[in-house]
């Protein structure tokens, strides 16, 4: 039962994100972070669903990353777990691992995007040359022969 509710919550949120991407109108945000309260209102999801299903948070986090936003507005005062407990600047291991994982995922994504960018640029160079080939009048593509 709860499995289908989670699936439904993810489906609803997925549709909302897709609609935001198609229309170009981003999910509610204040320019730096997502406005989670408004997103919940818009999607009809409850705060419990947000905290209960990590996949929901993950989906929103991913979306925030693609938009160059933070997942959630940061408080002026750092959270206890991230606040240095003493002047050795230590952070909890779990938090460090989570951030490290997120960093490597972002780096991976960044590398993928850069490769795609380079490939698209190469295609653009090709488009100009293809136009010149078309202007010659003859064969445009290597075809099947």
């Amino acid at each position: 039962m709860s499995h289908s509710k989670k699936a439904e919550a993810l489906r609803v949120l997925g549709s909302l994100i897709e609609a935001a991407e198609v229309t170009g109108k981003p999910l509610p945000n204040d320019g730096t972070s997502l406005q989670l309260g408004q997103i919940l209102t818009l999607s009809g999801l409850s705060r419990q669903q947000l905290s209960r299903y990590p996949e929901v948070k993950e989906m929103l986090s991913e979306y925030a990353t693609t938009q160059g936003l933070s997942y959630s507005r940061q408080g002026r005062v750092a959270a206890e777990e991230t606040a240095p407990s003493d002047n050795t600047q230590m952070v909890p291991l779990a938090r460090l691992q989570e951030v490290s994982l997120r960093l490597s995922a972002t780096e991976r994504k960044n590398a993928e995007l850069k490769a795609e960018n380079a490939s698209l640029r190469a295609q653009l160079f090709r488009a100009d040359e293809t136009a010149e080939l078309i202007a010659l009048g003859g064969r445009i593509a290597p075809g099947k022969a």
Binding site: A111, K114, A115, N117, A118, S119, L120, R121, A122, L124, F125, R126, E129, T130, A131, E132, L133, I134, A135, L136, G137, G138, R139, I140, A141, P142, G143, K144, A145
Partner: protein
Amino acid sequence: MNAHTPPDNGGLPQSPSMFQHYLARERAFKNIGPKRAAALTEAFGDDLSKAILDQDEGVADIIGEEAALNAAAVLETRLPETTFLAWLDSLAADIPAAKAIRLARAWGPQGIDAIRENPYLLIAITDWKTVDRIGAALNIGPKDERRQVAAVEATLSGSACLGAGSTLLASQDALRVAERLLGYKCGAEVAEAAVKAGGAIGLAGELQPPGAAHMEAYCALKLAQLAPQTPCSGITDPDTLDALLEEYEAPQPFPLTDAQREAVRMSHRHRLLVLAGYAGSGKTTVLKEVCQTQETLRKTPLIITLSGRAAQRANEATGRRAITVARFLIEQEKSDTLLDENTVLIADEASMLGLVEVWRILRRLGDASLILCGDPAQLPPVSPGVVFHALVRHPDIRKVVLDRVHRQDERTGIPALAEGVRDGIIGTLPPFTGAKPGVTFDACERDNLCHEIVRLQTALHADGNHPDHVQIIAPTNKEIDIINTHFHGLAMQGGPTLWPGTNIAVGEPIIWTVNNAERGLTNGALGRVLSIEDERICALLDGTEHELKEEDGQFVQLAYAISVHKAQGSQWPAVIIPTFPSKIVDRSLIYTALTRAQEQVHFLGSLNAMQRAIERPAAADVRKTGFGRYLDLVKEMKN
């Protein structure tokens, strides 16, 4: 090209210092100059190309992410093409590197692999003899389908189709020519194979070269889309426009005709206006009024023409900026944006625009409106295809035809003769009796042509006509050679200084034969050599003095007589036209030649030859093209 380059880095310069130089020198590597190239080499040494391709963070640290991404994209493209050049070199393919690079960049690594599998694909950038020699060297048999397909492609790109200005050829005709290349008979399956392989496009049982088919389909679709559209900036209020027209007409000696007024109105109601105006019908008056009314409404008219002289003439006639199509395209390529909704692009002398030019213009049109203005009785373009003539004839394209001769031009008799030539009729023409407005004809043999020209010129110059105001326009190269040789001989009698490396002397009339936008010189620019002092040559071309060099001699020809094609787009107060029997002379050639004159036309030669020429169908009608069919197809799709 270097056949000894090892394949591991695809033929790129191997040593770090060479590669560093390559990075700094190639303009495609944006934002990488000598300093950055040196810093990259210092950081990565032999591994630099790999680091760039792998998008190593260190590269972005040195030159920034944008430049690093661009460098990776450039290298990704360059690697396979340098390998390709080395391969062609090893085959002694004798294909210009620029063309090979173009093909490699357009087709990418997979395309290059395809060429290695089927070297006959090189027919896209070279001739049949070259490609067949490569095929034979790689042991491809005479009956191999790859060779047969290439023979059809060579036929479509050759003198039977594109070379003759056509873009369409009946399958049977294509096969007949292909058989001559192949050296044996072949059946309809070869044409089918060519279509299947992408070497030809089938259009209602006939064949087209693919590039031409693509351009025709694009132009037909785009023009059919534009035709019913209103300008992106909106329609001008009719009352405002009527008031503007009234204001314009008030001080004019002649009111606009209904057709002229309708043309101006249409330019404010539609995104596309096809304006067909025969000689003396007041086309320029319409263009001036279009420019004036559009400018009043804060639009920007921009006139473009194929030749530099035509641009100069359009500028003088309308008082507006007029540039060549080549200049327009260069400016557009530099700009990141297409034309905006407030621009009204006016292609003057549009009958001279070939398929490629129209295609390139349409690709840059953006939100602008377009006016195609020309004379459909003139010669078809020098380049393949017929667009303007076909648009004028197509029933579904809205157009304004100006066919009433303006009173101010009627007195010369030139428009009346031009109309007769269009209809295949020439009446009686009086002999030359001196310099006065009108049309004359004097019979003479070819052997006596130059003496007759001297007789006419002497009389014309005596009556105050400046030598540069009298131009000889000859329909065939035979007469051009005879005239230029004769008058050059006369010029040499005084022992003038010669342009080093040429047979051109100081004071002689010349024509510039290539486009060089950077130096402001256009193909067809006419003028004279003013002075020759050692290596410094000063020439007046299209009214502007140019410092030329010894090596520029290869781009210059004598211009006592010029061809009708070179004369197209220009006008002179008086022209002399020799007409002798020739199969290539048709009514559009005679029409175009005689309408270059503003006041006087003097024919010399054979009246019978002239009569036969104007009875032949116009060259534009002889060309076989698919453009009209694509327009029909667009209409069927809409229905």
